[in-house]
């Protein structure tokens, strides 16, 4: 194993990023963290994470943007909210994970091995089109875009679903698709306006 230098210099961190996180919806209590680790201990997925949630919170608060956005941690969060319920300082850890995911997608820095950003994007595309989601199409689409092999491994499940009549092939749709699009577009234009400011 090659030797790796672990020291960090202050210019490795981005204080603005830390400020940004704590200014976001859900990020308000970020700075209250006392590093007790109850989030990590209660997290059913922390065992797979490169940084435990506690460490991620500290990295975010210190502004280690690169480490935070490229971490596995945010993509492994299953949104079970256990951390949020246990946190003694009422930090909304799950919401922080969400906002970091959004930032990572926006900046395109997420680790390639996780198809979650693709799933999320496909999901939102489908909603924009139909207003509803067809799980089957979503999953098929996802695997076709990311991992052919995995798709094959899933065929057994697919057959089972067909057998039990739980597989829909046709996309379901809402009636007033235009109404929903107007709403979503209104937000986009609102955001553009704000960005222009």
């Amino acid at each position: 194993m090659p030797l790796e230098q672990k020291i960090k210099y202050e210019n490795d961190c981005d204080k603005e990023f830390a400020k940004w996180v704590s200014s976001q919806t859900g990020g308000e209590n970020l700075r209250h963290c006392i590093q007790c680790g109850v989030c990590s201990a209660t997290c059913p997925l922390s065992l797979y994470m490169d940084y435990t949630p506690r460490r991620l919170i500290n990295l975010a608060r210190e502004g280690f943007k690169k480490e935070v956005l490229s971490s596995f941690t945010i993509w492994l969060c299953a949104s079970c909210y256990a951390c949020r319920v246990e946190c003694p300082k009422e930090i909304q850890v799950t919401d922080i994970m969400y906002l970091l995911k959004r930032k990572a997608i926006e900046e395109g820095v997420f680790p390639r091995r996780f198809p979650i950003p693709v799933l999320a994007r496909e999901f939102s595309r489908m909603i924009f089109m139909f207003g509803r989601v067809n799980e089957t199409l979503l999953v098929t689409d996802l695997f076709l875009r990311t991992n052919w092999f995995k798709f094959l491994s899933m065929t057994g499940l697919g057959l089972n679903l067909i057998r039990t009549g739980r597989l829909s092939v046709l996309p379901d749709s809402i009636k007033r698709r235009g109404e929903l699009r107007k709403v979503l577009e209104a937000i986009e234009s609102d955001e553009k306006k704000e960005a222009a400011k």
């Binding site: 969400y98 799933l119 909603i127 739980r166 709403v183 937000i187």
Partner: protein, 286 residues
């Protein structure tokens, strides 16, 4: 008693049996259910990772439509239940967000006030209908059946007020009312893996496996759940779990199916056969 019903995408897809049994049980209890007009996807967890404001608006549209009627909204899917409640709470706590979302909804001629009340069927059954009322209609008590109540995460965390977040008991009570025996175990609210079973199976499958294994160890003949994703993960991935860990063969039922059976509704009405792991042996063998 009258409620609006927000099915969400799962109950129209892989969670079809949940819808079937939910509607059948409520009908049998004399509760009137009307499907929310032109509802759209709640956004689930995925949309939140893409665009926060839009995900609030997406849920907001449903709430705005729901507000047109006076009845409470029942959202049986845990994710829908959480997202709709989270949206209400978020819009209440963050005025700027609310401004953005309401004005966007206005563009679609929708009026959001924040007056809807989103409930879970567990809450409605225990607190509105009442266990006594259900007990009266139990014709076929499931005596001798050992069931593991499995709530999953998003029904109780973090917004539910109708049950304890650490040790929820509403479903335990319903199981007992149905005449079955309730397995006590500490994994009632542990995550099933959520969407990770699909996206990161090496992590997701382990979570599902842990739950199945512990339920079996504690002598459960079936797991009972109020969540379509939990049901899907625990039921659908057992083949893959068998390949990776061991075979468990644990049927996973919806709590509505369990009550329905006790009330004497037919297995067909309740979609019992839609389980990938058949529950027939467990149900017959008791």
């Amino acid at each position: 008693m009258k409620y609006q019903y927000f099915p969400g995408c799962s109950l129209k897809g892989t969670g079809r049996a949940y819808e079937e049994s939910f509607l059948a049980v409520f009908k049998a209890l004399g509760v009137e259910i009307s499907e929310l007009e032109d509802w759209n996807c709640c956004g689930a967890t995925a949309y939140m990772s893409v665009d926060e404001t839009k995900s609030y608006a997406l849920a907001g549209r449903n709430l705005a439509i729901a507000e047109r009627a006076a009845e409470d909204v029942i959202a049986p899917c845990s994710a829908c239940y959480l997202v709709l409640n989270k949206t209400m709470q978020g819009l209440k706590d963050h005025p700027e967000l609310k401004r953005k979302v309401t004005s966007a909804l206005k563009a679609g001629e929708l009026d959001y006030k924040g007056t809807a009340k989103v409930r879970h069927p567990l809450d409605v059954l225990v607190n509105d209908v009442g266990l006594e009322e259900i007990k009266k209609r139990v014709k076929n008590p499931l005596t001798g059946l050992k069931l593991a109540p499995y709530y999953g995460c998003q029904v109780v965390r973090p917004f539910a007020t109708f049950d304890d977040q650490h040790n929820p008991v509403t479903m335990d009570k319903l199981i007992a009312t149905a005449g079955a025996e309730c397995v006590t175990w500490p994994l009632k609210t542990r995550c099933c893996g959520g969407s990770l079973t699909g996206t990161v199976p090496e992590a997701g499958l382990r979570l599902a496996y842990i739950i199945l294994k512990e339920a079996k160890k504690r002598g459960a003949q079936a797991i009972v759940t109020p969540c379509p994703l939990c049901q899907f993960n625990l039921d659908g991935y057992q083949d893959q779990i068998a390949r990776k860990y061991e075979r468990i063969d644990m049927p996973v039922l919806y709590f509505t199916q369990v009550i329905g059976l006790a009330m004497g509704l037919s297995a067909k009405e309740l979609g019992i056969k839609r389980g990938i792991i058949s529950a027939e042996a467990a149900l017959a063998g008791r």
